[in-house]
């Protein structure tokens, strides 16, 4: 049972192990730069929503950084699928498509959670107190799962690197900047507010920030994350099926 899931995860983690040091080092740099530039320098003495800016920023960096990592498996999938045809080895095996999706998603979640741990280390170093509650764990699991599933969907649909980069430029990057990672979305002009409330990152950031900083968590937002997770899992499954057209 679960041979497909185990196989896919074995493959991804075996490859990851060989690159782990380089990857962790690379993914630790950009959050640190944000912390220094926005948290330390620009945000010194500023408070947002009743929080010191750096306390407001850290949960945003957690969602941003883990999104980058979880969604980022799209890039790897694209290369292994089109250049090295590794994906064919899965398709030819007696395993289900759901197992392939879940295996890849688990790998994306692993990467996302690793970067979350990294930001926690920064939080300690920068002296920011965070509160860990069960809601946080539920939210971060949903968050990393849904963006990994989105990454799988995109990787299966696009035909090449260029299209992948276009999706990143027009969807992922704007989402990362506008969905309340660096500033409260309520400060946005009306038209953008409508836009960001259609994006899952807005909700995961709100839930994760509230849970980590002792604010009130809106459970309806958690429900929305569940819906997004189901939606993207379904789309990933559909996209993997489509490969065999």
């Amino acid at each position: 049972m679960f041979n497909g899931f185990k196989g896919v995860l074995y493959r991804e983690l075996s490859v990851y192990r060989k690159r782990a040091r380089k990857q962790i080092l690379a993914s630790s740099l950009s959050p640190l730069l944000y912390l220094i530039a926005f948290g330390w320098s620009l945000g010194r003495g500023v408070s947002v929503d009743g929080l010191p800016y750096i306390s407001f920023l850290i949960p945003g960096l957690i969602t941003m950084s883990s999104l980058n990592q979880s969604y980022g498996i799209a890039q790897e999938l694209n290369i292994t699928r089109f250049y090295f045809h590794v994906f064919d080895e899965y398709l030819i095996a007696p395993i289900s498509h759901a197992e392939i999706v879940l295996g890849e998603a688990a790998y994306g979640m692993f990467k996302g959670l690793l970067s979350t741990v990294l930001i926690f280390v920064y939080a300690v170093l920068f002296g920011v107190k965070l509160i860990l509650t069960p809601v946080f764990f539920v939210a971060i699991l949903l968050h990393t799962f849904l963006f990994a599933a989105l990454g799988i969907t995109v990787a299966m649909l696009v035909r090449d690197h260029g299209t992948q980069a276009t999706v990143n430029t027009f969807v992922i990057t704007p989402m990362i900047f506008l969905s309340g990672t660096f500033f409260p979305v309520d400060k946005l002009p009306y038209i953008f507010k409508v836009l960001v409330y259609a994006l899952p990152l807005t909700y995961s950031t709100k839930v994760i920030r509230a849970s980590l900083t002792g604010g009130a968590v809106n459970l309806f937002f958690v429900l929305l994350l569940v819906i997004f997770a189901v939606l993207f899992f379904t789309s990933a499954l559909w996209a993997v099926r489509r490969v065999e057209a």
Binding site: N3, G4, K6, G7, Y10, R11, S14, V15, K18, R19, T80, F84, H85, V86, F87, D88, E89, Y90, L91, I92, A93, P94, I95, S96, E244, A245
Partner: protein
Amino acid sequence: MKASMSEGAAALSVEGLVKRFGKRKALRGISFRVEGGDFIGLLGPNGAGKTTTIKILTGLIKPTEGGVRYYGRDFAAHPREAKRFIGMVPQQSNLDRDLTAYENLYLHTILHGIPKPARKERIEEALEFAGLTEYRDRQVKTFSGGMRRRLVIVRALLHEPRILFLDEPTVGLDPQIRRTLWDLILKVNQVKGTAILLTTHYIEEAEKLCGRVLIINKGRIIAEGPPDDLKREIGRYVLEIFLEDRIEEEFFPSRDEALERLKECDHSCKVREVTLEDVFLRLTGRRINV
């Protein structure tokens, strides 16, 4: 698994396969059967539909029309069951370059549900069979083309398939390596009794290895049978007459008859045995891979 297979059904039967890619028709109705232990060559020029056929038979793409049955069971309806007893060696290596030889094989044992206690032994056996034991812990990206091809072949055999598909297994390899691969593939067929369906556009490869060839052109099977039978149909010997602007060929059932005709010939001439290539050219009217 055995209970679900009908007695007497062919290992593989293919019925009227059609595949369209947009407006282009890659396959225009392909039908054939493979029995247990067969060694069959699918021979045809580039773009004839060989790879498309193999991809449909292994479930990588779906046919537009037609059906595939393994031991009497419909492949489209029971893909996972059939995938247990087929193996595939794709044209392009799909090994994981970042994994070692051992890890690539280990991945395959997980995906195909080989029980954990049996994995190590099977992998070591496979490495031995491929002559790669000393390279087991080297990343595949450091392997030569021939080593990769050998590794892909033994990987496809790890779950002991009853039918092995090889898509252009020796393309782009030098002659010595091609020989060792031929030996390896023959060994698989003879020693393990695995039925083999191999595509190739190298005629001598089909002639050397296959008990039966299917000649495919423009998405259709235009001839099939043992190489010798196909050759006999057009004549065992050929007389080549070298005219100024072309070479004319005449076919004869025996060497004597060919030599007899040679005597009357006033151009420069040559008598030789018919090859599968002559059969192919007679059938398709175009020359491939000379």
